[in-house]
């Protein structure tokens, strides 16, 4: 099956904005409230593997974008399911019931971007150590200022210049 035929099949899902990006890659944009249904629809179509959950900070539009990177072994094709959620209230529903591995991906998105996934039981600290600041992958987190305040302010133990 070609990309166009699959895109037409996906477009039958109500509210889906489908675009063929290049060979073997299809982007599917849906409203946030239909994201879970669309994911179930795609999984039924054959996109059985959740490769990753990516997160984009669109700070000017005041939105976070979640990109669910799906892969189909039958069709040898990728589908990017994109949903946008408001930046002020970064909450979404977990996809753990469809793909159990979503737990780990969502845990990372929670730590790095501060997005809360409802019904995910394991949103505990993951990679960062002793973190008590803004989530570091947000666009308004100033890494240089953080480094200056935290690491560069520490004096050399044996004296000497910075």
């Amino acid at each position: 099956m070609s990309e166009q035929e699959i895109a037409e099949r996906i477009a039958k899902f109500p509210g889906a904005d489908v675009e063929v990006l290049r060979k073997g890659q299809i982007a599917v944009k849906v409203p946030a409230e239909k994201g879970h249904d669309a994911a179930a629809y795609l999984k039924k179509m054959g996109f059985a593997h959740l490769v990753a959950v990516e997160y984009v900070d669109w700070i000017k539009e005041n939105e976070f974008e979640l990109v669910y990177n799906l892969f189909s072994y039958k069709m040898k094709m990728r589908a990017f399911l994109k949903v946008r959620i408001p930046r002020d209230k970064p909450e979404y529903i977990t996809f753990m019931d469809l793909w159990p591995i979503a737990m780990t991906h969502e845990r990372e998105a929670h730590e790095m971007m501060g997005i809360v996934f409802r019904k995910n039981p394991n949103l505990t600290p993951f990679i960062l150590e002793d973190w008590k600041n803004l989530p570091p992958m947000r666009k308004d987190f100033d890494s240089r200022k953080y480094v200056k305040d935290k690491y560069d302010s520490i004096p050399f133990a044996e004296g000497g210049e910075q």
Partner: protein, 191 residues
């Protein structure tokens, strides 16, 4: 008990009482010569520099011809090689490893990342200057240093041990309070 540290600290310019005789002095020289010829390195890699240790340990560059060998436990080791960027999680392990090693112990910072942060100088995750937290005897500049540089560094370290200028473990004792204060400044909790 032979007071090797007194002899070395005299080399550092620290005032010591003149009670050691020549025999003790020469015994210290022999002891340091023996130390430099049987260095054991902690088999510990952080960051991307660990990949350079494989050709170093195996037949191409053959670290064993210097009497060096990797050791799996810090309690039997002399040399700690920091092979790349250090973040807070790693620094806790490095300090724990370093404090378990018996004296005399030597630290080599490998690559530009432990020196001043290197390409990760503005990263929120990596600490930039490793020498703010533990004393370092020798730096190898470069990104990445080739195994030849590491061999050269080991030769330099051996010379420094013979001279008594590889004194990092004594500086750690002398400046223990400021080192500990620096470590506690960036750790929220230890484990």
């Amino acid at each position: 008990m032979v007071d090797d540290e007194k002899i070395v600290s005299e080399d550092m310019g620290v005032q010591v009482e003149k009670n050691e005789n020549m025999e003790m002095r020469s015994f210290g020289t022999v002891k340091r010569w023996a130390t430099k010829r049987s260095l054991w390195m902690v088999h510990y890699c952080t960051g991307c520099g660990g990949i350079e240790l494989a050709p170093l340990m195996t037949s191409r560059y053959d670290m064993e011809r210097f009497g060096m060998h990797p050791m799996v436990t810090p309690r039997q080791s002399d040399v700690l090689l920091i092979t790349g960027y250090v973040n807070i999680k790693t620094l806790k392990r490095i300090i724990r490893t370093y404090e378990q090693m018996p004296d005399p112990k030597y630290v080599i910072a490998f690559g530009s990342c432990p020196i001043n942060g290197g390409p990760y100088w503005d990263s929120y995750a990596t600490i930039n200057h490793l020498d703010k937290y533990i004393p370092i005897d020798l730096y190898i500049a470069g990104c990445m240093p080739r195994p030849q540089s590491i061999v050269r560094a080991f030769e330099d370290l051996m010379d420094m041990i013979q001279d008594g200028t590889a004194d990092g473990y004594m500086r750690y004792k002398k400046y223990y309070e400021p080192y500990k204060a620096n470590q506690e400044k960036i750790f929220r909790k230890w484990w």
